[in-house]
């Protein structure tokens, strides 16, 4: 459950640089058409819950309770059941995230190859703990389970890219590239 959302009590909007709170939660007509298309791909339309939640996260920045209720409406589900799914997966953010997400693997292969030092280095560089976002809203740091790239340990996922065979120098270069 590392990096699991839902631990922060501070009202998200008050934190500088973050995506604003999802007050008027509503998909555009194009997004609504996409919801219907996704639902059509599965024998039971509920199969589309995960991709629709990803869409919602892209559209609204993070999955607030309001977003969960909105999405539940498309599936005739109670909001509690959408909350089950959102809390199960670490890839759904229950609080605002930074513009970039750095997820350092802490599982066995990476651990043996020095992921603890890598993580400590990232923390020092960004000035945040695991699960936190930099004050400028630039980066959210996570520590995660195996991402299936043991052959290139230690590694991290930065947004949708894998960064392999990490060293402190390589980490610095990567972080500098995040704007």
């Amino acid at each position: 459950m590392n990096g699991a959302p839902g631990s922060s009590n501070s009202p998200p909007a008050e934190r500088a640089g973050l995506a604003g709170p999802a007050t008027n939660v509503a998909f555009t007509p194009e997004q609504l058409a996409e919801v219907r298309r996704l639902q059509g791909l599965y024998p039971d339309k509920r199969g589309a819950l995960l991709p629709v939640l990803h869409m919602a996260q892209d559209a609204f920045g993070w999955i607030s309770l309001e977003v969960e209720e909105y999405v539940a409406g498309f599936f005739a589900l109670s909001p509690a059941h959408v909350h089950e799914v959102v809390t199960f997966y670490t890839l759904y953010f229950q609080q605002p995230k930074g513009r970039h997400v750095v997820a350092v693997c802490h599982n066995l292969s990476c651990y043996l190859a020095g992921s603890r030092d890598i993580l400590a280095h990232v923390q020092r560089r960004l000035g945040v703990e695991v699960g936190e976002t930099t004050d400028d809203g630039r980066v959210t740091l996570q520590s995660v389970e195996c991402l299936c790239a043991c052959e290139a340990a230690p590694m991290a996922q930065v947004d949708d890219r894998y960064e392999l065979n990490l060293t402190p120098e390589k980490v610095d270069r990567i972080l500098e590239g995040l704007r």
Binding site: M1, A4, R46, L65, E68, F75, A76, L77, S78, P79, A80, H81, H83, E84, T87, F88
Partner: protein, 546 residues
Amino acid sequence: MPKLTIDGKEIEVEAGTNLIEAARRLGIEVPHYCYHPGLSIAGQCRLCMVDIEKAPRPTIACNTTAGDGMVVHTDTERVRDTRRSIMEFHLINHPLDCPVCDQAGECWLQIYYMKHGLYDPRMVDEKVHKPKAVPLGPHVMLDAERCILCSRCVRFCDEITGTGELGIFHRGDHSEIGLFPGRDLENNYSANVVDICPVGALTDRDFRFQVRVWYLDTTKSICTGCARGCNVDVHVNRRRPHHAEGRRVARLKPRFNAEVNAWWLCDIGRYHFDFVDAATRLTAPVRRNPGGPADVTWDEAVAGVADALRRYPPEQVAVLASPQMANEDLIALRRVLETRGIREVAFDVPPTALAKDDDFLLRADRTPNRRGATLIGLGGDAGGLMAAARSGRIKCLWVFHHDLLAAGWPAAEVSRALGRIETVIFTGTNANATSERAHWVLPAAAWVEREGTFTNFEGRVQRFRTALEPLGQALPEWELLGRVLVGLGGTAAGRRAEHWFRELTGAVDAFAGMSYQSLGDLGRLVAGATASGLPTPPGQRASAHA
């Protein structure tokens, strides 16, 4: 119909029967947590493992349908070993707090651990901690650490009430039961999740910490909260009265009746017993003179009431019976009326606000025996009766249970009518504004303090039994009415409720042929009635969550 062998015994069961139910029919218990016959199969707890010949590994019995020729073993070394391991898993994070847990004594973790436990725990790691004593709504308290994640409560809210408040959030050993943030578990069936919770995770906020369950006695009864007549067990605390400050009725629990309520009971009915041990209970017959009220003996009260009924001509006497009264009371009352030729009788006093059906068991009619009162012939025009009282024609009025001053009539008019009546007699369990105006007060035993029958809305006659002694000198109404009948020169049917029921079966055709024995535990329909059966739970209707 598949024929199979379980532990060497052959049995034939209907197609579709699972192995837990098939074994149950042979008297073989397959231990389980998540399986519940009223809910869908979850296959979550893994405890119901059995060995099936030709199957490579133990299989869960709940999700295995009996097949023809199947040979099942529920007690092999491998099954026992599997159960022990599964119990070990269930207890990894379960706190050892039985001494302070309300579920102790009726906890399936305790029960199965005695049978299938490891007894020598191997866990050295610290347990995962989760929220404790979290109110989930007005009636239910959650201890997430005690939860074994069987999901019965989640499925109940999905499949029975259709309200879907509960879910299992997070993952792995951090998984926990909870509500969507900001919501409450406040549907009218919420406390059923306490009944079906196999462990101490969900407890009843009203019941918890009152008394240990092993001090409770259980009596079969009927809920009086509405006209459905859900079958219940009354749990009373007689052995540790000091633990509950004089509260004798500890709780009501639903009792299975497939035709009426299945396993369920609504919250309105479940908590409709506080009047039994309330401070307002009437405990002695009272005579109220101009000088004030005075306790009298039953003999004096019965003589006084019989005298009043005899003194006034029948057309000056009126009776407001009550659908709270049992069939036995109503036939006894009818005999009293017949003896004196009293015709002015009714029971339908309008309530201040009309209640509504809920969408499952609860009926708008919040009384247990309107159908009985109607069949026994005590229906009449209550409004007309009160008008006659206002006009001064009625000199003597006998009121059962009702508070006429808190009914759907203008209180000032009722007060004026009561003022014109020379003799007001009140019979009921609890004092109210009307009993305060009565010249004679005859205290009645509450339904849990006596036996009798109610006729539910569809015409099902169901027995309730004596769980407690009447408080003080209160008497069952059939008994006090029988005494008045004798005072009027009549003959009482007998000295037991059953005698009055026999009187009823002889007097009213709808009840002909019935006896306490033939009613059994599940009741019988009156002649001409059609069973409506259990309504489809809201969660299983087409419009419910897909």
